[in-house]
C-alpha cells in the first residue's frame, strides 16, 4: 500500500482530547502531569502557556469588542488579584490576562463567566472572537445593525460549537462600508449595504494575514439579512470540508478560497445551504467581480466622534502599548459610568472608546482623562502604534516589539508638530511572521527578525514593510528594508523624512505615496 496521508499530531489531539477542561482539576494537578498535547489544547479555552514557565495567559471573548463597565470591572478585579494588576488589549478587540498561575486559571474563567463573558474559543482551531469596528452600534455612518449580527453569531451553536476546524477562523461584521472593520483580513467579512431602504449584506471571504497574507475576495454582492447566519454557517462547513488539515501553514480558509476562486467558493456555499434545506437562496446575488471595494477609513484622528443618535458622542482614549494597570482601568471605568454610557469598547488598534457619552459631558470627560494621564490625540497618526507582546511574553516571537513601540513612541509621538505634519499613519509592530499585530496591512509594518552580524552572532531587528491598506481592494505592504532594533527609531524617522520631503503636497497620504513611487524607488530614496 502506498502510504496514505494520516492525521497530524494536532489533528489527533483535537480528536482525542476534550477541549473543555475542568480547570479546577487542572489547578490540583502537578504541572508535569499535564501533557504537552493537553497544554496545547488549553488554547481552546483561551488559555496559553506563557513564555515564562509557571505562568499562563488567558484571552477572553468579547463579541464586537464591547463590554459593560460591570463586566470590565470584573476583569479589572480579577487582574488585580491574579494577573499582577495588568490587562492587555488585543488586536481582535478583547482583553488578555498575563502572569496567571496554573492554580488560578479557573478563577479567571469562572469569574468572567459570572458576568456573562466566556473564554471558550478564545484561541485554537475554532471561530475566534467575532469583531467589527469600534463604531458598531453608534457610528454616524452606520447601516443596519452589525452588533445584532455579531451577537447572533456569538450565540449560534452551529457556529460556536465548532471545536475542530482545520485552523482558526475569523469573522468580521462591519457597521458600514469602512476599512475600520478589517473586512479584508478576516476569513469571513460582512459589510452592510442598503438598497431601496432594505439592508442586506455584502459577503467577503478568504482574507487572512499570518506568514502568507491573503486579502479577502468579494463572494456575494447581496445576501438578505435573514440568510447571513446561514451563509456564515455554510462557510464554516465549507472550511471543514475543504481546509487542508495536513499543512497548518496552508490550512486556513484563505487558502481554500484562493484555490477555488470566489465564484466556485460561492457555489460551494450555495450547495451546502441547499443540502441543509435553506430556502430562498435565489435572493443571494453573486458578485460579478471578486475585487472588493471597501470604503476608506472614516475616522482619522478624531478624539470625539458624534454618534448617529444626536446628543451622544464617542470619546476615544489612546492606551499606551495596549497595557492597562488596575488604576488606569478603574479610572476609565469610573469615567465611563459617571460621564459616559457605562460602555467600554476595545478597538483593533488596542485602544478604548467610551460610547454613549452625553455631549454635555464630553469636555469634562476629556479633561478628566487628560488629568488621569491618558491621551486622546493622535489616533490613526504616528502615536497610535500597534504592537504585539513580542518576545516579552510570546513563545513565537523573534523581536521585542513592545521595546520598539516604546522607543518609537518616546522619540516620535511626543513631537506633535512632526506627527501632525505627517498626517494619517499607522505603524504596526509584530514580533514574528504570525502577524498578530497586522504588519502586512499597516502604512509602516515592522516584523521581527534577526540578522547575522559581523561578530559571529545575530542581531535583533525588523523587516520593514510599507504601503499596506484594507480599503478599496486592499494591499499587502511591500518589503522595503531591514533595520536592527537599535536603529529602528532612526530608520522609521528616515522613512518618514523621505516621505515628508518627497510627497506630492501635504494631502498625499503615506499609503498613496508608497503606491505612486513604488517600493523600488522608495528603497533608492532611503539609501
Amino acid at each position: 500500500m502506498k502510504a496514505q496521508p494520516g492525521l497530524t499530531q494536532v489533528e489527533k489531539d483535537k480528536l482525542e482530547i476534550d477541549p473543555d477542561f475542568d480547570f479546577r482539576e487542572i489547578a490540583a494537578r502537578p504541572f508535569t502531569a499535564i501533557s504537552p498535547n493537553e497544554l496545547a489544547m488549553f488554547k481552546w479555552s483561551g488559555v496559553y502557556h506563557q513564555l515564562q514557565p509557571s505562568f499562563f495567559m488567558i484571552r477572553i471573548v468579547t463579541p464586537g469588542g464591547r463590554m459593560t463597565t460591570r463586566q470590565f470591572n470584573r476583569a479589572v478585579d480579577l487582574a488585580e488579584q491574579y494577573a499582577q494588576g495588568e490587562l492587555c488589549i488585543t488586536t481582535r478587540q478583547t482583553l488578555q490576562f498575563h502572569w496567571i498561575r496554573q492554580e488560578d486559571i479557573y478563577k479567571i474563567i469562572e469569574g468572567m463567566a459570572e458576568v456573562g463573558i466566556t473564554t471558550k474559543n478564545g484561541c485554537g482551531d475554532v471561530p475566534r472572537n467575532i469583531i467589527g469596528d469600534s463604531l458598531a452600534g453608534v457610528g454616524p455612518q452606520q447601516v443596519g445593525d452589525s452588533l445584532k449580527l455579531i451577537r447572533a453569531m456569538a450565540a449560534d451553536d452551529e457556529i460556536q460549537n465548532q471545536r475542530n476546524l482545520p485552523r482558526k477562523h475569523k469573522i468580521s461584521v462591519a457597521s458600514s462600508n469602512d476599512a475600520l472593520a478589517q473586512t479584508l483580513m478576516n476569513c469571513q467579512g460582512w459589510v452592510p449595504v442598503e438598497r431601496n431602504g432594505t439592508v442586506g449584506w455584502k459577503y467577503h471571504a478568504g482574507g487572512g494575514l499570518g506568514a502568507r497574507p491573503y486579502l479577502a475576495k468579494l463572494i456575494f454582492d447581496w445576501v438578505p439579512e435573514a440568510l447571513v447566519l446561514d451563509v456564515t454557517r455554510a462557510a464554516i462547513e465549507a472550511f471543514r470540508r475543504h481546509g487542508d488539515r495536513r499543512k497548518r501553514t496552508h490550512s486556513r480558509l484563505k487558502v481554500v478560497v484562493d484555490q477555488m476562486g470566489a465564484k466556485k467558493f460561492g457555489e460551494v456555499l450555495i450547495d451546502i445551504m441547499k443540502e441543509k434545506g435553506v430556502q430562498e437562496l435565489d435572493a443571494i446575488v453573486f458578485a460579478n467581480h471578486p475585487v472588493p471595494a471597501i470604503g476608506r477609513m472614516s475616522i482619522n484622528g478624531e478624539a470625539v466622534i458624534p454618534q448617529k443618535e444626536t446628543g451622544q458622542s464617542i470619546v476615544r482614549i489612546m492606551i499606551e502599548r495596549s497595557e492597562l494597570t488596575t488604576a488606569q482601568s478603574r479610572a476609565i471605568s469610573k469615567l465611563a459610568d459617571e460621564r459616559g454610557g457605562g460602555i467600554v469598547m476595545f478597538t483593533n488598534r488596542q485602544n478604548i472608546e467610551l460610547h454613549d457619552v452625553p455631549n454635555e459631558n464630553v469636555e469634562k470627560l476629556i479633561k478628566a482623562l487628560h488629568t488621569t494621564g491618558f491621551r486622546t490625540e493622535g489616533h490613526e497618526h504616528l502615536p497610535d502604534i500597534v504592537a504585539c507582546v513580542g518576545t516579552t511574553l510570546c513563545k513565537m516571537a523573534i523581536s521585542d516589539s513592545p521595546d520598539a513601540y516604546h522607543r518609537l513612541y518616546a522619540a516620535l509621538a511626543t513631537d506633535e508638530k512632526y506627527w501632525k505634519a505627517i498626517g494619517t499613519l499607522r505603524i504596526n509592530i509584530t514580533g514574528c511572521p504570525n502577524n498578530c499585530a497586522h504588519a502586512w496591512i499597516a502604512d509602516i509594518g515592522l516584523r521581527g527578525t534577526r540578522t547575522r552580524n559581523a561578530e559571529g552572532g545575530s542581531t535583533e531587528g525588523y523587516s520593514i514593510f510599507v504601503g499596506g491598506k484594507l480599503s478599496e481592494a486592499g494591499k499587502i505592504a511591500e518589503y522595503l528594508c531591514d533595520a536592527p532594533t537599535e536603529e529602528i527609531v532612526c530608520a522609521v524617522k528616515k522613512i518618514l523624512d523621505v516621505y515628508l520631503e518627497t510627497r506630492n503636497g501635504n494631502d498625499e497620504r503615506f499609503v498613496d505615496f508608497c503606491e505612486r513611487i513604488g517600493v523600488k524607488t522608495f528603497q533608492e530614496l532611503i539609501k
Binding site: 515564562q52 488579584q81 499582577q84 511574553l393 516584523r447 527578525t449 534577526r450 520593514i464 528603497q523
Partner: protein
C-alpha cells in the same frame, strides 16, 4: 514561608531558576515584596531570552511597589532599557543568495563557508562535495560500486522500473544478479535503520524489482567514447573480469575476455547455487556486455592454452581477474582422509552437473557466503547438514536474511567450535573432533579471536566434511617469465602493480570478497587501464546539484513496514528452483517509498532566515536542526564540529545538520519565509570532454 524563601534562594543560587519560580508560585499569587524580588532575580539570572529580561523587570517593579529596598531591583529595570544608536542608519533590503525551495540558484561558488557544498548549483567537485555525498548518502558510500541507490529507489517508487534498472546497470553492471545475491553493505548503513528509525530499506530486493518489471529486452548502454583502437585482454570472466571488460568497452576499447570454463560468469555461475541465482539471469546480463562488442572466449585457460606473456604482447593491456581458486584447507590430523572436500569444489560440481556424491551426515565448516551455499545445497542433495563456526553470529560474513533461511530450512549452526582433528577408518572420514571456544580480543581483521576452552573437546560423526574456510588467489598459471615480477613467493600478487600494462581486478587482486566488492574494484581498475592506454584521465566524478521544489515524500512513508520477500514453500525447495520469488510490482513500490531519499539536501539560507526558530520547533530529531554559535571547519572547508548558542544573540545561524536529517521536510513546511531550499545532489561519473 521563611523556609520556602530560603529554599527558593538556594535554587536561584544554584542556577535552577525555573524551579525557584515554580516553588515561589506554589505558595500563592506572587505579591509580597520578597517573593517578587526572588522571581525578578531568578529571571534576571537566567537571562536567556528577552522574556527573562521582561519578567525580571515586571517583578522588580512589583517588588519596588511593595516597598522593596533591594538594590538590584532598580538596577534590573534600568539595565533592561535599550538605547537608540547614535548617528545615522544604513537602510537596505536584506540580500541573500541561497534562497528557499521556490527559488532558482545560479551555478556560482557557494557564498558562505557554512554552505554544505562548494557550489550553489550545477556541478561541484571540491573535497567538501564528496564528503557531503559520502556522509549524506551512506548507502551509496557503502556500495563498492557507488550505486545511486536513492536515485533508483525513487524511480521504482514512481513506477519507472526501466530507469531504475538503467541506474543500476550503469553503476553495478549486474542488477538482476546482485538484486538476488548481493552482500548488501548498503543496507546496514541505511538511515532508516538507525536507532529508533525502524528497519533499513530492502535495497537489494528493490534492485531485483527494477530488473523484474522492466521490459525484458537487452539493455545496451551508450559508450562514453568512440573506438580508441586499443586492445585489452581480460583473464577470467567472473564478475570482476566482466565488469572491467564492460567499463573498458564503454571507454571505447576493444576487449577480449578469456575464460577457462565452458561458460562465462565465474563465481556467479560456479559458486552460487541455482536456487539462489537462476542461470538465465546471469546469461542475460552477460549478453548485455557482449552486445557492447566484448568478446568472451571460453574453454581457454591462460597459462595453458595461451601464456600470459603472449597475451601481454598481443594486447595493449591485460587485466587479470582470475578470482580466488586456491582453497584454504585446514592442516589438521587426518587431512588425507576421503570425504573431506573444499566447499568451492563441491559447489562447482553441483552447479555444473546438478548433483554430486554426498553422504548422509554432512558438516560444513565456516561462517561465510560459501558455507551457507554449501549447507543449503547439501541439504537439497538429501544430506543432514550442520554448520560449525568458530566465532559467533556477529562475526559471520553472510548475506542478510540468509541465516534466517538456514534456520527456516532446518539447518542448525553450532557456534564457537573449532575443528581439531579428522577421525577416520579405512582411509575414510567417520567423525570430526571440535573444541569449544570463547571470544577473545579482536584480531587483525577486527573480529574477535576465538580462544579454545580446555577440556571441551567433542566429536561429531560424519560422512562428509565441506570446508568453507576461505580461498586465495592462485598465481600458478602465470608463466615463469612474468611470475617473479608479478607474484610473491606465497602465491599472492605483489601489492603494487609490477608491470605497467598488466592490471588486476577483483578477488584476484584483493583476496576473496563479495560480488559487489569485485565489481567496484574492477570499475576502478578499468579507469586505471584507460588512463594508461590513453595517457590521460578521461572520466571524472562530480556532484551534480539540481534545484527541487519538493521531495514527493510524506512522513507516513517512514512508517511503512519493511516488505517481506515472498519465498517458495519449504516442500518445493530443490536444487534448480529459485527460493525467493521477488516482490510483486505493488510491493516493489511500497518498499521503495520507504527510502528517505537521502540525496535531497535541505539547507537554510542564513541571510534569508529570520531566526524565528519555527523549524527548530518542528524538527523530528534532537540534532537535525541546531542553533549554532560557530561552525568548525577543516582546511578543506568541511564542517567538522560546532558550538551551540546559549542565548539568542549568540545564534550566528540556524543550521540543518544534514548528517542527522531524515529528509522529512517538516522544516520547509514550518518556515514562514521560505528560506529553506531543497536540492538533489547526485554522484555522477562522466567523460571529460
Amino acid at each position: 514561608m521563611k523556609q520556602l524563601l530560603a529554599e527558593a534562594e538556594e535554587l536561584i543560587n544554584t542556577g535552577r531558576c525555573d524551579e525557584a519560580v515554580e516553588l515561589l508560585c506554589r505558595q500563592g499569587v506572587p505579591e509580597e515584596s520578597r517573593v517578587c524580588e526572588l522571581i525578578a532575580l531568578a529571571h534576571h539570572q537566567r537571562e536567556a531570552t528577552r522574556g527573562d529580561v521582561f519578567s525580571a523587570v515586571v517583578f522588580a517593579g512589583r517588588a519596588l511597589a511593595q516597598g522593596s529596598t533591594h538594590p538590584q531591583m532598580q538596577k534590573i529595570i534600568d539595565a533592561s532599557k535599550r538605547k537608540d544608536k547614535e548617528g545615522g542608519t544604513h537602510l537596505s533590503p536584506q540580500d541573500y543568495t541561497l534562497g528557499g525551495w521556490n527559488e532558482t540558484r545560479e551555478a556560482g561558488d557557494a557564498p558562505l563557508n557554512s554552505c554544505a557544498l562548494s557550489r550553489l548549483n550545477g556541478k561541484a567537485d571540491a573535497p567538501k562535495d564528496f564528503d557531503w555525498l559520502g556522509k549524506n548518502i551512506p548507502c551509496q558510500k557503502a556500495c563498492p560500486a557507488s550505486t545511486d541507490i536513492p536515485g533508483y529507489l525513487s524511480a521504482i517508487y514512481e513506477g519507472r522500473h526501466e530507469e531504475a534498472y538503467h541506474i543500476n546497470l550503469r553503476d553495478n553492471v549486474f542488477p538482476a544478479v546482485l538484486g538476488r545475491v548481493c552482500a548488501r553493505p548498503c543496507e546496514s548503513e541505511c538511515r532508516h535503520g538507525w536507532e529508533d528509525l525502524g528497519d533499513p530499506v530492502a535495497i537489494c530486493f528493490s534492485k531485483r524489482s527494477s530488473a523484474d518489471f522492466k521490459q525484458q529486452d537487452l539493455v545496451v548502454m551508450d559508450k562514453w567514447f568512440e573506438d580508441s583502437g586499443k586492445r585489452v585482454a581480460v583473464v577470467g570472466s567472473g564478475p570482476a573480469g566482466l565488469a572491467a571488460a564492460r567499463q573498458l568497452a564503454l571507454l571505447g576499447h576493444s576487449v577480449t575476455v578469456y575464460e577457462k570454463h565452458n561458460t562465462p560468469g565465474g563465481m556467479m555461475n560456479q559458486g552460487i547455487p541455482v536456487f539462489r541465482l537462476p542461470r538465465d539471469i546471469i546469461a542475460k546480463e552477460i549478453e548485455q556486455i557482449t552486445a557492447l562488442g566484448v568478446e568472451i572466449v571460453c574453454n581457454t585457460e591462460i597459462g595453458k592454452t595461451i601464456p600470459l606473456s603472449k597475451l601481454t604482447e598481443q594486447n595493449d593491456a591485460v587485466v587479470m581477474a582470475a578470482g580466488t581458486l586456491r582453497p584454504n584447507l585446514l592442516d589438521l590430523p587426518g587431512k588425507e582422509l576421503e570425504g573431506i572436500r573444499h566447499g568451492l569444489d563441491f559447489l562447482l560440481e553441483v552447479n555444473d552437473t546438478g548433483t554430486t556424491q554426498i553422504g548422509k551426515q554432512v558438516v560444513v565448516i565456516g561462517g561465510g557466503f560459501t558455507a551457507m551455499d554449501c549447507a543449503r545445497a547439501a541439504l537439497r542433495l538429501g544430506a543432514e547438514v550442520k554448520v560449525c563456526y568458530r566465532r559467533t553470529v556477529n562475526e559471520m560474513l553472510v548475506t542478510p536474511g540468509e541465516l534466517e533461511e538456514l534456520e527456516h530450512e532446518g539447518i542448525p549452526v553450532e557456534y564457537r567450535v573449532t575443528p581439531k582433528a579428522y577421525i577416520g577408518t579405512n582411509g575414510k572420514i567417520k567423525a570430526i573432533q571440535f573444541i569449544r571456544t570463547e571470544m577473545g580480543e579482536p584480531d587483525e581483521s577486527g573480529r574477535r579471536r576465538p580462544v579454545e576452552i580446555e577440556g571441551s573437546e567433542f566429536e561429531l560423526p560424519i560422512d562428509n566434511i565441506l570446508l568453507a574456510t576461505g580461498q586465495f588467489p592462485d598465481t600458478e598459471w602465470i608463466d615463469d617469465a612474468l611470475k617473479s615480477e608479478l607474484a610473491e613467493a606465497d602465491g599472492w600478487l605483489k601489492p603494487e602493480q609490477a608491470i605497467d600494462k598488466i592490471f588486476s581486478a577483483g578477488d584476484f587482486s584483493t583476496g576473496a570478497s563479495s560480488l559487489i566488492q569485485a565489481i567496484g574494484h574492477a570499475k576502478e581498475t578499468a579507469r586505471s587501464v584507460d588512463q594508461f592506454l590513453m595517457g590521460k584521465i578521461r572520466l571524472r566524478d562530480v556532484a551534480t546539484i539540481e534545484d527541487v521544489t519538493e521531495s514527493g515524500r510524506i512522513r507516513e512513508m517512514d512508517a511503512v513496514p519493511l516488505q517481506p520477500m515472498p519465498m517458495i514453500d519449504l516442500r518445493k525447495r530443490d536444487l534448480p528452483t529459485e527460493v525467493e520469488l521477488g516482490f510483486d510490482e505493488e510491493a516493489s513500490g511500497d518498499e521503495a517509498q520507504r527510502c528517505y531519499q537521502c540525496h535531497y539536501k535541505y539547507e537554510i539560507d542564513s541571510d534569508k532566515c529570520i531566526y524565528c526558530d519555527w523549524c527548530v520547533k518542528a524538527k523530528p530529531r534532537p540534532d537535525c536542526i541546531l542553533k549554532i554559535k560557530s561552525l568548525h571547519h577543516d582546511a578543506e572547508g568541511r564542517v567538522v564540529g560546532w558550538d551551540i548558542a546559549q542565548t539568542a544573540d549568540e545564534i550566528s545561524q540556524i543550521w540543518i545538520n544534514q548528517d542527522d536529517c531524515i529528509r522529512c521536510g517538516a522544516c520547509v513546511a514550518a518556515c514562514p519565509v521560505d528560506a529553506i531550499s531543497i536540492q538533489k545532489v547526485s554522484l555522477v561519473t562522466e567523460p571529460i570532454v
